[in-house]
Amino acid sequence: MLQIQHLTKSYGDKKAVDDLSLHIAPGEIYGFIGHNGAGKTTTLKACAGILPFEEGQILIAGQDMKARPLDCKQQMAYIPDNPDLYEFMSGIRFLNFIGDVFRVEPTVRRERIHKYAQMLEIEGDLAQPLSAFSHGMKQKLALIAAWIHEPKLILMDEPFVGLDPKASHLLKALMHEHCDKGGAIFFSTHVLDVAEKLCDKVAIIKEGRLIASGSMQEVKGNASLEDVFLELEDEHA
């Protein structure tokens, strides 16, 4: 579903991502961990088509991001760490805008908005302007916007930040449901317990370079993910 091959992205002289390669297959929940500034957000943004990159290739469902960016974006959704949405719109207008851009048929769109907004308990707030939404409510709206066109691949940057425990629980269920249907999820997180329980595979990045990747069992063995992460960080210091 997502193939990252030798990705390199620099900001000036500094390499934010250095020769990174990953493969996320359909049905997988893939966790991406690393300390602050390790290159997680840059990688996710490059995969989402937000940031141009100098070297390497990103393939979404077999399509090259550089050659066919619109086809790639049509098949995926991206949720940033800070959901800065269009504050001049109401919740429902924003969702309809996303529905229009991703060409979701109006009746299907209505059903999905109803389903997810009710599930995340923000249906009653959808007529409110986004400027009146709290961080958590915006995060929930960003989740609905991501799920509204049923993408094959969902990219999420710290998706659990700002969500209440119930919404976090629901998000985990939604992630499993999405992957059970053949979709894939690639997300970054600092919450290692969540990554350990939720992910099928995990990648650890440090200073833009991949220092470990594979199935959860392969990476952590019998230790906890936290111990392995800290150990690897020290090894590559």
Binding site: A48, K73, Q74, F88, R93, D100, P129
Partner: protein
């Protein structure tokens, strides 16, 4: 701590004004000099307008022995300009700044946050004082004593700015409170802004007759302003060198400023962090009408314009100007064209109105801040399955959809009232329309080259961006170019030939800008 805040505030202002980029490259000296030149040009243009007023009333007031009234009137004009310029900035700076929460969470006294923001207003008030106070002094036919000079400087550059900052902050606070309690904040802000603007425009339209009345009968103004002691003190202080009362006024202004500070600091946290108590709008589930992605992008841009009063007022105000001009022309057109002092201008009247319409078109500036306004939500258009050109062309379309019909309506009414025929009739429709297209393309070109995402509220992006200033001045320059070209080439070329030459030049520039936007512009947007 206050010093640090003041420095941050000035850095933020400069960064927004000069278009500091995301790449955090240092501003080039050329860019800063260019920006300073633009600012000076704006102030000189405004100063020229006020010069005309003082040039007319100065001798009349001197002859009537009402020197104090001349300076009292100048004080009123200075204060009014400061207020118009500062009141919405005060609201945005004090209560809608996006960094209020961050600053309030730090060990900083609220009064220091308040003072740092008020300092910025004070700087702006001083800038607004220049184009009125300097012409008032230049066109006063009498001479001032040393004490008179001191009274002038203290009055116009200390007392008036201090009082203006107090009033702007209080009015900004009231507008913010009114908007916070309303369900539709944008609409309330827009309505209040339009009321302000309406009053301002009313006085602008009445200026000619007011000036004639003032020059002929200063006693009327004396009766009106004579009862306002502070204005009498300022006027007499400057003309007669009576410094003591001006110093008393300064002490009173400082006391009022301190009192206002005390009041504002007590309510600052509550007001700045208020989330509004407007009634919650009920969501009714319904099936939306589907739009194509391109239509959805244009609709989103329209929503942005409607949802941001600052954008509407600063960017689309020209649309109102053009429509109002069309209506005024329809009602008073015949009277305007048969004014006795105009017969010698009669052959040039029709081309001059074409130039005037081009000028009015320049006041519509929607694309110039449009990239900066994406701000932190820039990730949204970039992650959507729409081409970069579609994103940019939605911004161009917003400009054209609003500006072109207004300009064409005004042109049609001009054609009817002034009975245009032949080549000039064609130019009447073609030149202003192409000019609107040029401004739209130029604004987008400029904003792609100088985007700014560091603003703390939308007003900063809309009002103070370098791209906005450059677009406005270049647009005005191009609107004036046919007049200049005709004045220089009238021996060799007819007015129509100059008009067609200008049309050709504008079309060529539009084509070049269009090609740049399609190729380099899209690449620049992708790299943001």
């Amino acid at each position: 701590m206050l010093k640090v805040l003041l420095r941050t505030r000035m850095e933020a202002l400069l960064s927004v004004l000069t278009g500091a980029s995301r790449t955090k490259k240092a501003q080039s000296r050329g860019k800063l000099i260019g920006f300073a030149c633009l600012m000076i040009l704006s102030l000189v243009s405004l100063g020229t307008l006020f010069s005309r007023i003082f040039e007319v009333i100065g001798p009349a007031f001197r002859m009537a022995g009402l020197g104090w009234l001349y300076f009292a009137f100048a004080a009123v004009m200075t204060f009014s300009l400061m207020l118009i310029g500062n009141v919405f900035t005060a609201k945005a700076q004090l209560y809608e700044a996006k960094d209020n929460d961050l600053l309030l969470s730090m060990p900083i006294k609220p009064i220091h946050i308040l003072l740092s923001r008020l300092f910025l207003l004070l700087v702006l008030a001083l800038v607004f004082a220049l184009p009125v106070a300097i012409p008032a002094l230049m066109y006063w036919p009498g001479e001032l004593s040393a004490a008179g000079w001191a009274a002038f400087l203290i009055s116009f550059f200390l007392i008036l700015p201090l009082l203006n900052v107090v009033l702007s902050a209080l009015l900004g606070w009231l507008i913010h409170l009114a908007a916070a309690r309303a369900r539709n904040k944008s609409l309330i802000s827009l309505l209040i802004s339009l009321v302000f603007l309406g009053v301002y425009m009313y006085f602008s339209f009445q200026m000619n007759s007011m000036l004639t009345d003032l020059a002929a009968n200063p006693a009327g103004l004396e009766r009106a302003l004579g009862s306002a002691a502070p204005l009498v003190w300022i006027g007499e202080g400057v003309v007669n060198g009576e410094l003591l009362r001006v110093l008393l006024l300064l002490a009173a202004s400082l006391a009022i400023f301190a009192l206002a500070m005390l009041l504002l600091s007590r309510t600052f946290i509550q007001t700045a962090t208020a989330r509004g108590s407007g009634a919650k709008k009920r969501y009714v589930e319904r099936t939306a009408k589907a739009r194509s992605p391109r239509a959805a992008l244009l609709n989103m841009e329209l929503r942005r314009l409607w949802g941001l009063p600052a954008y509407m007022l600063n960017g689309a105000l020209g649309v109102f100007f053009v429509v109002i001009a069309a209506v005024v022309l329809l009602i008073k057109g015949k009277a305007l064209t048969s004014m006795p002092e105009w017969p010698m201008l009669a052959p040039m009247l029709q081309p001059l109105f074409v130039v005037l319409l081009c000028f009015m078109g320049v006041t519509i500036i929607l694309t110039a801040p449009s990239i900066s306004l994406e701000g932190r939500s820039l990730w949204l258009p970039k992650s959507m399955p729409v081409s970069t050109w579609d994103i940019l062309s939605a911004k161009l379309q917003l400009h054209l959809v609003l500006a072109v019909p207004a300009v064409l309506l005004c042109a049609a009414i001009m054609a009817f009232v002034l009975e245009y025929k032949g080549a000039v009739l064609f130019l009447l429709f073609a030149l202003p329309t192409v000019n609107v297209l040029f401004i739209a393309l130029l604004g987008l070109f400029e904003n792609l080259r100088h985007p700014n995402f560091n603003w703390i509220n939308e007003t900063q992006a809309v009002k103070s961006g370098m791209s906005v200033l450059v677009t406005m001045f270049v647009g005005m320059g191009f609107s004036a170019l046919p007049v200049l070209a005709y004045l220089l080439l009238s021996k060799y070329l007819s007015m129509e030939a100059v008009g067609f030459g200008m049309l050709g030049l504008m079309l060529l520039l539009c084509a070049l800008l269009f090609l740049w936007l399609r190729k380099k512009g899209t690449a620049l947007f992708d790299a943001l």
